[in-house]
Each structure stands twice: as structure tokens, then as C-alpha cells.
Amino acid sequence: MEKPEKLIVDGKRLDGRMPDELRSLRIEAGVLKRADGSAYVELGENKVLAAVYGPREMHPRHDQQPDTAVLRCRYNMAPFSVEDRKRPGPDRRSVEISKVIREALEPVLFLKLYPRSVIDVFIEILQADAGTRTAGINAASVALADAGIPMRDLVSAVAVGKVEDTIVLDLTKEEDQLGTTDMPIAIVPRKQLVTLLQMDGHLTEDEFKRALDLGFRGCAQIYEVQRQALREKYGVKEE
């Protein structure tokens, strides 16, 4: 990849977006037959599929929890989803991402309702272009709702970053690699609570606050698309 001279020209990004603008976003609920719930998310060039199984009996049995269901998440990149073929199987990156996604989703679930059982969330990245973990959370959250799992709210997620000293929403792969900072964030929109927050790069205190602001606003937009996807699937108006 050749490095472009500037990533932001006249206040606009290389793909023409404003700093606070999302890429095109499409979410569809209930796209798989076998899974109990599923969703498909296209965010820019990202293509992500999530499936939910459960609540179902936990195996192996000694991992069962007597007073609660266990939430398991597995984030996986298809070998062909990235520039250089990814060798199949979990690596350290996907192990960590699976963990933070689980911890991002768990706060909205009523796991105590299903003691001894497990809820499995599988996220497949079919095509990757930065922001796959947040796209995965958006998909998983809709898939959980599609599976009929009781939830306090959806979880909406987006990455915020810093590119040439500008705080921008929803980084592309190019911006992620050439910019300095990536900060994925997930929010429970109604209560405005943060369930995922990671960052690497460089942010001053002031930049951090502006990044948080932008993250909250981006998640609000995503939340609308998630709800729309569920409305389309179930044909009812939310109250």
C-alpha cells in the first residue's frame, strides 16, 4: 500500500467522509437457518456474520454454573478475509477480541435466568477492513435479539481514532494503519453505559474526551440501524 500524502484534505477523508461520518452500514437480522439467531453486518468493506445458539446445555458439564448461564463468544476471521491469507484457528489477537466482545455483551443479558446453560455467540469476519470487532458486536447484539434472548438493550459499537490530529469516526483500514490512534468503544445506548473500551496510540486528555463524545454519537447512529434491522425482520414498531 502506498502511503498517501495526506489522509484528510479540506476537512474530508480519503473516501469523502466527514470526520464524524460513518461508512455505509447495512444490517440484516435472521440470515441463517440453523442458528437460533443471526445477523449480517456490512460496514464499508467489512462483511460480518454473527450467530447465536442457546440457551442450551453446557458441555463439558463441569463448566456449568449452578446459578447462571455462561456466555461464550468466539470471534474468527475467515482465511480469505484479509490481505495475506490467515492461517485457520485462534491466535492471540482473536482470543483477546473474543474476551472483550463477551464482556461487552454480558452487561445487557439476564444470564441468571438460565442456570447451568450456555449461550454461544459466533462471529465470523468474512471480509475485513478495520473495525471488525465493533462490527462483530453490532452483529452479535442483533443476533442475540433475533434468538429471542432477553436483553436490557442492544449494544452498539464503533471505533474512533485520530488521524493527523483529527478525531475521526469509524476508521478504514488505511486510516487505522497510517493514523496514530484506534479506540473501539461499545455502548448500551439507552443508559449510555460503556461496555467495551480499548485504545492504542496516543491521546491527550482533551483528545480523549472528544473521542468519547464522538464514540457516543457514532453508537447512537448505529443503534438506529440495528433497531431498524429488527423491525424489518419482525415487522413491528417499537414502542
Binding site: F80, S81, R85, P88, G89, D120, E124, L126
Partner: protein, 254 residues
């Protein structure tokens, strides 16, 4: 790859078969709706998504530099891998590929390799040091039976969809595809042969025979599966079924 069905369902399906019927009303020689979409993954050199009924398989092909095998220093390398992703079925588990995934990948591999579908001899770069590797990754997304046929069709479709890599070492005009192998799996339930079983049928089937043929009807690969047997007559009948249906499926490629 096999789930467990209740004996009630088993009896029902077997009984239907005895009376010449299938659970979804199809004829024994009839596939479910087949759709083949290509060019679905930008990060792959070639890709295809195949749906057969509710079954859904995504195949991506990556073309990368690799070292040749010592005994074939000027020949490209073909690698087929299948992942039965746990999102596709409650019976698929996390972890390294089990015997079902391994068999699936190897049956698809043999269909392509043995038919010389790819002119691997044209994929050398520097003898003994550098050749093109063709990675075919089969990603199963939704499992409602007949994964072998869907995967093999997806693999051939993805190969036909390949755009050569943007790499100065690539000198061919286009990716050298020579054959279009198509696999058709014939299943036996009780004494009836049928193509394209859905998952429920697959679960009660006694045995299956996958026959991969090329354009002229000759066979490049076969694989019997399942814990039952086939008679000599059934094998010959299966060949005719497979050959006929392969021609139909091959029309879906471009």
C-alpha cells in the same frame, strides 16, 4: 458431520422413501434450489457463495507465493481447507478440523487435483524456490445437508472467478483453469437412491457415494461415506445420476 435424529423422524423418512417420496416433496433425482454468486469477497482472488436450499457455503481462493514441494520444483501448489464453522450447525464444534471437515476438504481437493482442473505446471515462478500457491478455503456458514456438493461447486466457481494477483511475478494472461469438475453425492435411504439430501435425510441415510465428473462424463474422484453399504447395481445407478446432475450444476458456473 452426522447429527442424531429421533427414531420417529427416522421411521417417517424411511417410510416416505419406501413409498417413493421425500420430506420436501422433491423427486429423488431433484436438487433443491441452487444459487451460485461469485466475486463476493474482495480480499480473495476468487470467491463464490453457493446456496443449496438452506445450505450455504462460502469459498475463497487466495493466490500467494510459496515454496514448491521438493519433488515438483516447478509446479504450483494446491491447498484445500474446510472449516465447519460452529455458527453453521449446533453439531459443529470449536477446535481444529475433525474428520468430517478433513474428509470434506480432501474430497474437494481430489476432484480439482485429479481432474487437472488447474494447470499447476504453469504456476512455477523460480524453479525449486518460488511458485504460486492456490489456497482454497471452504467456509461452511449454514448446514442443511449436502455440504460436499455445495463445497465442490463453490470451489470450482471460485476458481473460475479468479482475478490474477497484482504482482509482477504473475506473467500469465489469466488463471489457468482447464476443467470444471462437479461433485454429486448420491445417498441411499433404505433401498432408494437420491441426490442432494437435506440434513434430516442425510442423518438417516445408510450410505452415500460422491462422484466427481468432468465435462465428458469421465470420473476424476469418488468417495463412499456412511456406515452402510452399496450394491454393485446401486453404484452404477449412482454414476448415471451423478453424471446427469453434474451437467445441470455445471451450467450454474458462469
Amino acid at each position: 458431520m452426522y447429527g442424531i435424529v429421533s427414531s420417529v423422524k427416522r421411521d417417517y423418512i424411511v417410510d416416505l422413501a419406501k413409498h417413493g417420496k421425500r420430506v420436501d416433496g422433491r423427486g429423488f433425482d431433484q436438487f433443491r434450489d441452487v444459487s451460485v454468486r461469485t466475486d463476493v469477497i474482495k480480499s480473495a482472488n476468487g470467491s463464490a457463495e453457493v446456496k443449496i436450499g438452506n445450505t450455504r457455503v462460502l469459498v475463497g481462493v487466495k493466490i500467494q507465493h510459496a515454496e514448491p514441494f521438493p519433488d515438483m520444483p516447478e509446479s504450483g501448489v494446491l491447498m484445500v481447507n474446510a472449516e465447519l464453522r460452529p455458527l453453521a450447525s449446533p453439531s459443529f464444534e470449536l477446535g481444529p478440523p475433525g474428520e468430517g471437515a478433513v474428509e470434506l476438504a480432501r474430497v474437494v481437493d481430489r476432484g480439482i487435483r485429479e481432474s487437472d482442473a488447474i494447470a499447476l505446471d504453469k504456476l512455477g515462478i523460480k524453479s525449486g524456490e518460488d511458485v504460486w500457491a492456490v489456497f482454497i478455503d471452504i467456509h461452511v456458514l449454514d448446514h442443511d445437508g449436502n455440504l460436499i456438493d455445495a463445497s465442490a461447486l463453490g470451489a470450482t466457481a471460485a476458481l473460475l472467478n479468479i482475478k490474477p494477483p497484482e504482482d509482477e511475478a504473475w506473467t500469465l494472461q489469466e488463471f489457468p483453469i482447464q476443467k470444471r469438475p462437479v461433485a454429486v453425492t448420491v445417498s441411499r435411504i433404505n433401498d432408494r437412491l437420491m441426490v442432494d439430501p437435506c440434513l434430516d435425510e442425510e442423518d438417516v441415510a445408510d450410505a452415500r457415494l460422491t462422484i466427481t465428473t468432468v465435462e465428458d462424463g469421465s470420473i476424476c474422484a469418488m468417495q463412499k461415506g456412511g456406515a452402510g453399504y452399496l450394491s454393485r447395481e446401486q453404484i452404477e445407478e449412482a454414476y448415471h445420476l451423478a453424471r446427469t446432475k453434474a451437467e445441470e450444476l455445471r451450467e450454474r458456473l458462469r
